[in-house]
């Protein structure tokens, strides 16, 4: 195949066209493989990184000759008849496409297998496509380097044989084994770093605090617990001021609080109340003209959205008294909330513009709670038997990451968090205190 694309066959112009065509083919199929692999499993956190790291180290040991592990591949070659049947650029495109698939041709080392396993375990579809694109690009770069400036068939053959010589004596496998050791070590470091990472406590005074809501700059609204009573506070431009209610939620230059009888919207700069809504409910959240909150009615629990311009009311979700509907958050046009029934716990997203609802994450042996949203980023607390995690999910590619893990048995628990412009904050509390942290 290399000898087909070398410039000595069809000249430099055709060589460049063929290299580009080959690269496009390899990138396209490799990215497609990555897309599929990334979609196979949910995007993993620390445990997925741990599994990927172990996979890399296992195959590193195999590459170094310490153990024997399977290396699935078809060991086929790209069909020679293509170059006889099609024009050279098309042949190069097809060759690139075939080689970009990876496992259908001969693989001298196990790196691709490790990368594919890692993509399936750790990455989402787009991340997987990006990672495997590197493999496709690598195949094109190798072709470019080995065919560049070749003047004769002998030279082309010599380069191919020279490349093949790298494999003699196991040098290539040893080098690859060491590379996989480094990769595995990095993945394990990331895995353990992900579970043991420290979060930075935000200094909001000596009293217990909870329920952060981040705004632009240093703006943060939160609840302060003093003497068993909850008071809303607002920190802006280095100054802390009291809010006329609790459970605050910041939206640009405004913040909404629950006063008990009403929801009040306050201007962050002046502290003046700009709107009062006599609505029975709790945990208000604000975005543009929409106010969302949760309430208990005779038939059960509801999450409600109110258009502040028209006062139109929309019931976003409802359930029986046994259903736990978590505090909602809104970032136009999406409302996010947690819903836990007897059989399942889930994070749901409702679109105010289309009325469309979808389930972002669900589990029956875990709890999803305290959902927050900003634009395309969702953050929530996920609790399993082993530990509690503060997690973010990017709605653009469905990729997720564990931002903080609170191990079981520590006596500390995670509570409500916030996300704003890729900044995150969450509450961690124990029997004696409660504080707000940024991961």
């Amino acid at each position: 195949m290399v000898e087909t694309i070398v410039p000595v066959v069809h000249g430099t112009r055709s060589w460049i066209v063929s290299i580009v065509a080959f690269a496009l083919g390899a990138l396209a199929t490799a990215a497609a493989v990555g897309l599929v692999l990334g979609a196979l499993l949910p995007t993993g956190g620390g445990r997925a990184l741990l599994a990927a790291g172990c996979l890399a180290l296992a195959y590193a040991a195999a590459e170094l000759g310490l153990v024997r592990l399977p290396s699935p591949q078809l060991r086929r070659q790209v069909p020679q008849r293509w170059r006889e049947r099609y024009p050279q650029p098309l042949t190069a495109l097809l060759y690139g496409g075939g080689l970009g698939l990876g496992f259908v041709t001969y693989l001298p080392v196990a790196t691709l297998l490790v990368v594919c396993g890692g993509v399936a375990l750790v990455a989402g579809p787009l991340g997987g496509a990006a990672a495997l694109s590197g493999f496709g690009l690598g195949r094109a770069v190798v072709l470019f380097v080995t065919t560049r400036g070749v003047k004769t068939y002998e030279c082309a053959t010599g380069r191919v044989e020279s490349l093949a010589g790298w494999e003699r004596g196991g040098r290539l496998r040893r080098a690859n084994g060491l590379a996989l050791v480094v990769l595995g070590a990095l993945l394990l470091l990331a895995a353990f770093g992900g579970t043991a990472q420290a979060a930075t406590k935000i200094d909001l005074g000596p009293n217990p605090v909870a329920n952060p809501s981040l705004g632009d700059g240093d703006v943060i609204a939160y609840d302060q617990i003093t003497g068993g009573t909850v008071h809303g506070k607002l920190l802006a431009n280095g100054t802390t001021s009291a809010l006329p209610g609790f459970h605050p939620d910041v939206d640009g230059t405004r913040v909404v609080v629950d006063t008990g009888a009403t929801f009040e919207i306050i201007d962050v700069a002046t502290g003046n109340v700009v709107d009062t809504r006599p609505l029975a409910g709790s945990d208000p959240a604000l975005s543009g003209n929409w106010l969302v909150y949760r309430r208990v009615v005779s038939s059960g629990r509801q999450i409600v959205a109110v258009n502040l311009n028209t006062s139109a009311v929309k019931i976003i979700a409802q359930g029986s008294a046994r259903v736990d509907l978590g505090a909602p958050d809104v970032s136009w046009p999406r409302v996010v909330y947690a819903r836990t029934g007897d059989a399942r716990s889930a994070i749901w997203i409702f679109r105010l513009d289309t009325g469309y609802t979808r389930m972002l994450r669900y589990a029956s042996r875990a709890v999803y709670a305290h959902a927050a949203i900003d634009s395309n980023l969702v953050a929530f607390v996920r609790q399993v038997r082993a530990d509690q995690q503060f997690v973010r999910v990017n709605l653009l590619d469905d990729s997720g990451a564990v931002l903080y893990t609170q191990p079981a048995g520590s006596g500390r628990h995670l509570w409500a968090g916030s996300v704003h412009s890729w900044r995150f904050a969450f509450t961690a509390y124990d029997a004696a205190s409660s504080a707000i942290y940024k991961p």
Binding site: P208, A210, D324, G341, S364, R365, V367, R385
Partner: protein, 192 residues
């Protein structure tokens, strides 16, 4: 001579028969015989344990929140130590499913609101299919004396050749060709 059914109840509680049919029949008879009769009829010594009390064979526990697969009459998880209801995270819960303290008060977060609920699903019928991706059902059961009351040991069965241990599943204890995948137990209040 034992009263009608009492001898069978005694054999079920002290013997080794654990065919699903006999287990079901035994459960009925033990219930009919009543606590007093069973108390006089059953072996008063606790059964020896290989795995957990009453289970001397090697099939592993069904996956569960707290390590030991104690269930209620409907297959939902209970706390092994005292039989109080727990959710899928292993937390004590009230009858509505809200997490509670040991004293029975609602578990509260830092601002005084209840801690979020967790799902509560059946160990054999829900947990196992979700984790292992094949259908299961409760077929067999047998009885032992544990902690002074009769314990029903319950087989979670599947049409699957391997058991939860990873090796060959035991045959002959479930219906319709199913085999024992994992085991659970239900502690009755019938004294023994």
């Amino acid at each position: 001579m034992w009263p009608d059914g009492e001898g069978l109840a005694r054999r079920l509680a002290s013997g080794h028969t654990r065919k699903g049919f006999l287990g079901r029949l035994g459960a009925t008879l033990v219930g009919l015989a009543g606590g007093g009769v069973a108390a006089s009829a059953l072996d008063p010594e606790a059964a020896e344990a290989y795995h957990f009390c009453g289970h001397i064979y090697t099939t592993g526990s069904c996956p569960n929140p707290l390590g030991l697969p104690r269930i209620d009459a409907n297959g939902y998880p209970l706390r092994p130590a005292d039989g109080r209801r727990i959710d899928n995270l292993g937390r004590l819960i009230d009858t509505e499913g809200w997490p509670i303290t040991a004293a029975g008060d609602r578990l509260l977060g830092p601002t005084g609101e209840p801690v979020p609920k967790a799902p509560r699903t059946r160990i054999c019928q829900d947990w196992v299919p979700e984790i292992y991706h094949f259908p299961t059902q409760i077929d067999g059961g047998w009885y032992r004396c544990c902690g002074g009351t009769i314990r029903k040991l319950v087989d979670c069965c599947a049409a699957h050749d391997r058991r939860i241990n990873g090796d060959a599943a035991l045959t002959g204890y479930c219906y319709a060709g199913r085999k024992v995948f994992c085991v659970m137990y239900y502690q009755t209040t019938v004294r023994c």
